[in-house]
Symmetry: C2
Subunit: 274 residues, 2 copies
């Protein structure tokens, strides 16, 4: 999916919601455990119940990998089940030297046909560039995450700027707003979100941390939107585990709808023409 | 495998060689392509031919992941085929927020039963600590890699030290020499290797970059050994693709033997008692 298609999708659906399928066998409703592929049965129900409300699904690969080959089968079924026209993200945080990064890029862009994959920047340009060379595919590089450990390196000063700022600036020289996004955590403070948007005016941000992790959709939207919206806001646990009974998918829908309705307000405030 | 067992293994085999199974369907001898699992057939032959010469095998997961479920099947067969008593490394370079890192740790330590996994440090302590909590398992954190892109962030100054130095120092406060190693690239200059060993006297280093990438075994050994050897030196392509005919495994053995014989010299020079 290219940038214009993504922007159109956001405008049509009045949503910049990404739903994170961090699906954990220990957390899904018990009645699904009798299904041949409980993880896929859960994801299928969640997708059916929420696909009109979101523009993207993000699959956290760790939750599938830990189940071995069976987990990869669930992942593959899930990504194939997501309706075409929705933006699919492999949240895999890969990154290695060039030849190996190319193999990772092939994994997610070709073998599983995701639109995007998250990438860790520590090894520098030759670990990121191979991902950027795939046509109409997206690299989503870690920028400033909002976990406790962001203070260890990302928020350390490096020649008058933070490491995360150096990472964002370097990324902007490697990719373009048409093939590179950044992960910017939702629970960073509003002034910092505004500062980051000023530093990176055009790229999309993938923003995790709303919902269970406590980030505010209002603050993100007020401080980090750009002229194309420029945001994919992810919620995982607060949506997919909103309920735990037979009606879990309807509970997930209600949780997604609440966020999407809030998004309509912020989009209307930002774009008179929407 | 615990540290003492690893040190004993190195002394017994007079080797600190790690062989990297970066197995690529496009590079293995053509006659293997008729096997039901060509990747495993190749790895099995390499392991049979080299297992007395090395102490460790490192599986670069990217080369398996890109083949989808079939690739994970090859990976699983391979890791199960490696003789017990050898040190197994999943070169996966994972790292995410705490709960997700726990899933990755389970993937490699429990589902596939590796002894060690490589981890990227960018997200900080809560992305690394979950890996360190597994008993008699090893986390191998990226320190200073030797790819071109190490200049982008790792070799940037941060408050009077390089980022990679900060990463090493932080790692030493999170893990111990009994559960944490660092990746230190072989092609960094000798003075730098000596400097890193001074900074990190006790931890093992996993050193990729010997062979095809041009690192010198002599320089690494002279500058970065410690009292327990403290090195696992990896060669991948220069060993596994040493030959390309019916006798490829014997060619691989010869390439591994050349490195191992050199290691005997360096071990003898370093340890009178070996």
């Amino acid at each position: 999916m290219n940038r214009q298609e993504l922007v159109n999708l956001i405008k049509e659906k009045q949503s910049y919601l990404c739903i994170g399928l961090d699906t954990d066998l220990h957390k899904i409703p018990r009645h699904l455990l009798s299904y041949p592929d409980p993880i896929f049965a859960f994801n299928k129900a969640i997708i059916d119940a929420t696909k009109d409300l979101c523009v993207s699904y993000k699959i956290n690969t760790a939750f599938y990998e830990c189940m071995g080959i069976r987990g990869w089968e669930s992942l593959q079924r899930t990504v194939e089940y997501i309706p075409s026209g929705l933006f699919t993200i492999a949240d895999a945080k890969r990154g290695d030297i060039g030849n190996t990064s190319t193999q990772y890029a092939k994994t997610f862009f070709e073998t599983y046909k995701f639109d995007a994959v998250t990438v860790a920047p520590y090894m520098g340009r030759d670990s990121v560039l191979p991902f950027l060379s795939f046509h109409e595919k997206w690299t989503i590089m870690l920028g400033l995450t909002s976990n406790e450990g962001n203070s260890d390196f990302q928020m350390q000063q490096m020649g008058g700027e933070y490491l995360y700022e150096k990472v964002l600036k370097a990324g902007m020289t490697w990719g373009t707003p048409d093939n590179l996004m950044f992960v910017i955590g939702a629970t960073n403070d509003p002034a910092q979100l505004a500062h980051i948007r000023k530093l990176v005016p055009d790229h999309f941000f993938l923003v995790p941390g709303v919902g269970a992790q406590g980030g505010s959709l209002q603050e993100i939207s007020a401080n980090a939107m750009n002229k194309d919206c420029g945001l994919l806001v992810n919620a995982s646990r607060s949506i997919i585990y909103a309920g735990n009974g037979e009606d879990f998918a309807q509970d997930a829908r209600a949780a997604a709808q609440e966020l999407q309705r809030e998004m309509v307000e912020y989009l209307e405030a930002a774009f008179a023409d929407i």
